[in-house]
Symmetry: C2
Subunit: 344 residues, 2 copies
């Protein structure tokens, strides 16, 4: 039995000193080997002795000590508006997977119901020693926060001069969707927009409007509604659209979540999708596949998004040359919620 196994009762957590003693080397050698910096600095025999001693003791380096000394935590924070939206759960998963490959881990910070997100981010700094930030918040942070996050954060699907951004090709995604509907013969196309006044949503609306114009389809004010990201709100908005005297034959939604409300309103009004009404979403989240019939939507590829996000953030953190990413390509996914308009 080694000396370190003499502790009675409470199993004390082994430290690098315990490992060093058992392996017959210095504590520094243990640190070098476990930190993967032993090449050419610690003899092969010592390395083996250290590794097996570590294994026997169940040693794992103390993260707080490591972070304190090195100034690196390898923790990335992903800030999203709401995890209850399955789209953001998928974004988290994609970022998590990509980060793991690079030796980082991701914590999830939800802004929902939070007034003071400056405080929240401060807390995260304190609690987790977050090294880098991915803000998928659709809202450009305020000036003091930008100062705090300088050279540590990137913005996804939003733009500011103050911070590197990963852009999504909302433009083409939305345009493809509009073309799709127009090709199906729709001209009475309403837009159910997201309530938050973010650039990503303004962009959707601009493309909606321009595409109508290009096809000489009149833009109607009564076909424009905005809704919060709740089923109740989107239901109400859709109900209002569908009970217009001259109701739309298609409703384009800014998000799959909003489309779910449209399905409910259609059901309440005994309208069949896609026979009586075409509906489209945005995101290609789980929601789009749960809906029956499945939702035609614009896919945001969360795996690629995660990889590019992490690559961009790490380049910022390491002050390397920032890689250039073209806006992420979004593709139209045609499913059962859209159909050619029937002659009546």
């Amino acid at each position: 039995m080694g000396e370190e196994s003499t502790d009675i009762g409470q199993r004390s957590v082994p430290t690098s000193v315990d490992v060093a003693r058992r392996a017959g080397v210095s504590q520094a050698a243990v640190s070098l080997v476990l930190g993967g910096k032993a090449a050419g600095r610690v003899g092969k025999k010592s390395q083996e002795a250290i590794l097996s001693a570590a294994r026997e003791l169940g040693y794992a380096p103390n993260s707080a000590a490591r972070t304190l000394r090195s100034g690196r935590s390898h923790v990335i924070a992903l800030v999203v508006p709401d995890v209850n939206n399955p789209f953001f759960a998928a974004v988290f998963e994609g970022a998590e997977r990509a980060a793991r490959k690079e030796g980082y881990s991701v914590i999830l910070i939800t802004l929902k119901d939070i007034q003071d997100w400056q405080q929240l981010i401060n807390e995260a700094f304190t609690t987790y020693a977050v090294e880098g930030w991915v803000l998928y918040t659709m809202r450009v942070p305020t000036a003091p926060l930008q100062e705090l996050l300088r050279d540590k954060a990137i913005l996804v699907d939003g733009f500011t001069d103050e911070m590197p951004s990963l852009l999504l090709d909302i433009q083409h995604g939305m345009s493809d969707m509009m073309q799709h509907l127009i090709q199906l013969g729709h001209t009475r196309i309403a837009h159910l927009a997201a309530a938050p006044d973010d650039e990503t949503f303004r962009l959707r609306h601009r493309v909606y409007r321009e595409t109508l114009l290009q096809h000489n389809i009149p833009y109607r004010d009564d076909y424009q509604l905005r809704s919060a990201f709740t089923l109740e709100a989107s239901y109400q908005a859709a109900y209002q659209l569908l009970t217009l005297a001259d109701a739309p034959s298609a409703i384009v939604c800014d998000s799959d979540m909003l489309a779910a409300g449209v399905y409910k309103a259609a059901y309440a009004l005994h309208l069949s999708i896609p026979r009586d009404l075409s509906v489209t979403g945005f995101d290609d989240s789980l929601v789009s596949r749960i809906l029956v019939p499945e939702l035609t939507t614009v896919a945001i590829p969360t795996d690629t998004l995660g990889e590019q996000t992490i690559a961009l953030l790490l380049s910022v953190l390491e002050k390397k040359q920032t890689p250039h990413f073209d806006p992420l390509l979004l593709s139209l996914v045609v499913r059962g919620s859209t159909a050619a308009i029937e002659d009546k």
Copy 2:
């Protein structure tokens, strides 16, 4: 200008020493005040000086140093099978909210696609200095893992002698659901069970079977299917049930996610819910409200769950007397997916 503002270029992060210097007190006093332990130990004037100095410098205690010294990180890990299931997103939110009140924060660990979750948990120990664990994994951990987690973890909706558990009253929830269907006149009730062989699902099945027995309804082997938590798998299983010669008039699902597959199969077979088929879920997740018509389900109250979970875990960590919680009450939520069977 204070002495600490003389650094040129890189804004160095202020430390307690900087605050102490500016406030004209000792570093220890700063620690006491910021740590909320100043009562009766630091004079009122000093406290004020410290607080304003901290504010002016934008000081926040270094978490790594704090954790290293005190051995406390105030981080709780929540381990779930899959965040893409909106139910677990809601569980996270509930736990997060409850933990925040107690000064803890919650990181989310997803087991999906992970083979070796022992390693994952080890990693989390290393990376985040996790103090306490909530395992909502529906699988009792292996022996070495139990050793690692002793006195640090609780299990939710699962039972083992090795670990405190928070139980859900699956029994009554499932029983209420079955009563509901039987009262509606259903006798051909199939059970679409979850594939994982966990106690929580075995329990659902036991209650299903017993309730049939109590009502002299024959138990049929061809009405029993299991499905993984994917839409494709549950669709296939439901399709198989619905194309039986003597197809069920109701399908009871172990989870809302599984019910979504049933909706798809019903749609494919031109069966109308609830007219031709009643469907029920379990969890009352976002999924149950997205489905059209909305799903009759058993509600697991994630807010209460979060509060009890955190309360139980903290009592374990603080080695206080463990509070006793009765199994969490689940309530039947009747919505549009169930109806009285029609006379044919």
